[in-house]
Amino acid sequence: MAETGSTPEGATKPPPDAATGSVPEVPTVWRSPGAGTRARGGAARRGTRALRTRTSAVLVAVVVLTVLAVPALVPLDEQAVDLGSKLLPPSWSHPFGTDEVGRDLLLRCVYGLRISLLVGVVAGLAATVVGTVVGALAGALGGWADRVVMRLVDVFSSVPHLLLGVFIVAMFRPGLWPVVASVALTHWLSTARIVRAEVLSLRSRPYIDAAISGGSSRLRITVRHLLPGVLPQAGLAAVLMIPHAIWHESALSFLGLGLPTHEASLGNMVQAARGSLLAGDWWPTLFPGLFIIIPTLAIAGLAGAWRERLNPRRRSELML
């Protein structure tokens, strides 16, 4: 098995080490599109990219405002059942139609997005904290501690994420916290790798040497000098984690292993709509799915722009 980088060279670009059971964090897709292409359509491409960043930013703002404002401003109850108006197709009074017990789907989608975003942000942050601490410790301690930790990361990544998540939730009973925990426990691996690589590359900088000669303790160097250096990368990893976490939560909920079924999570809504879909009513299925896709693309587009700024050499042409 290839030595998973105890060298700083392994830092910026994790080796495509299939032995670790992971696709490299940065697929070749994200690398520079190559000189020739850039010469051909440089300005136009930059324009498209700026437009995409702006669109993503606006979309993210709209999503955040909606999930924050609508529950406060709209006095309607998303759980309110109205059996007289069940499964109405989209219309002016119900733009997304109504579900099998007559609840307004637009309102429910907004509430679902709210819960999914909440789970996504909390789980993404938790995963990032775990990954940053583990990665920073491995990178700063080095030696056998590093090797043990990175081997553990390899082992962890040979269990498919969703399967491990399913297992954890099944053992701890479905609910908000098991879902958050299962997402956090399965998604810290990539952050740990990135942060460790960053720490390794920072460790060889002169100012760290200066701190060591100045007699700073190892802990102090890690906390004062190394951690602040990795924060931007960790922050980026956290944002990139949010769409993953949303996806993961909706999948678990759809399988009946996520949030409680009465909760308007997007995955629960798709699951609940299965019956009406088989009867031919498409709208209760279609809209919650769109509410998963659009924020995912918007967040990924914004994070892509951030990544370009952080790693200008690794010019990303693409999003996700």
Binding site: V23, T28, R45, S158, P160, L163, A170, L255
Partner: protein, 321 residues
Amino acid sequence: MARMAGRRLLLAVPVLAVVTFGVFAIAAASPFDPAKAYAGSAGLGAGQDVFDQLRENLGADRPFVARWWDWVTSAVTGDLGDSSTLRQPVADVIGERIGWSVLLCAVAFALAVTVGTALGVLAARRRGGLLDRIVTSLSYTLEAAPPFWLGLLAIWFFALKLGALPAGGLTDTGSDVATAGQVASHVVLPAVVLAVSQLPWFVLYVRQGVGDALEEDPVRGARARGLRERTVLLGHALRSGLLPVLTLVGSRVPELITGALLVETVFSWPGIAAATVQAATSVDFPLLAALTVLATAAVLVGNLLSDLLYGLADPRVGFDG
């Protein structure tokens, strides 16, 4: 090569041991009670002493390390315990279902590789062009779309609206025997959905690989020799651009398993992934533990295959791993 395969198989042993250990540790930390799971609804109203007795009989009162060791030693002999929901040995459950899962995944994977390569080459031919932009945007959207949602929409459209394909299961309702024709018509929809969920990755990788190769010297040389564009694209650019993709194919196993978990559930496909979900919803620990380990083993095999392919496809890479 054989040496490398052997070494990697040896390395898989500790990995699997750690994974099983982790599985038992998680179960021990959780509120899951093997005795209650074993008793099922028959345990309702039973007193504490009954459960204590049951726990002792099942060996569940011992520390989880001891139970883990028991499980490992009997697993080596092929005894994976009994599934508490399906009331049959776990090994039988796996044996009955694994073939269907392999069939589904193989069809889907072959489809994803072929279509993905074709679309990737088309997009790479003129990067930044209209076709490229359509293909890449579509890929991102599909990558963001949950497979279960795609599956349900596919059922709605192809099975309900068009009535062209069956909505799920393995055979038509009423027939018990799985004939080849029935299975073939039932596998189409789930396999296509699973393939579509894996497609974006292939398209984007092939597009990048071929696009980069188109700007390299061999292609420039081939163009200078006046070869036809088609020959240059398929004979030169595709050949070198596909190399990095082929070698990463094996590392797609985790994503394939994730996709299968969702797709098999949506289409009621009688495979092993659907059994995993059933085992999870009914907290069937013996089945769940065995399937988690099986999935991990599949991932390790995929990694090994991908490394072997890497060495075969690119002679510069040695087999010293």
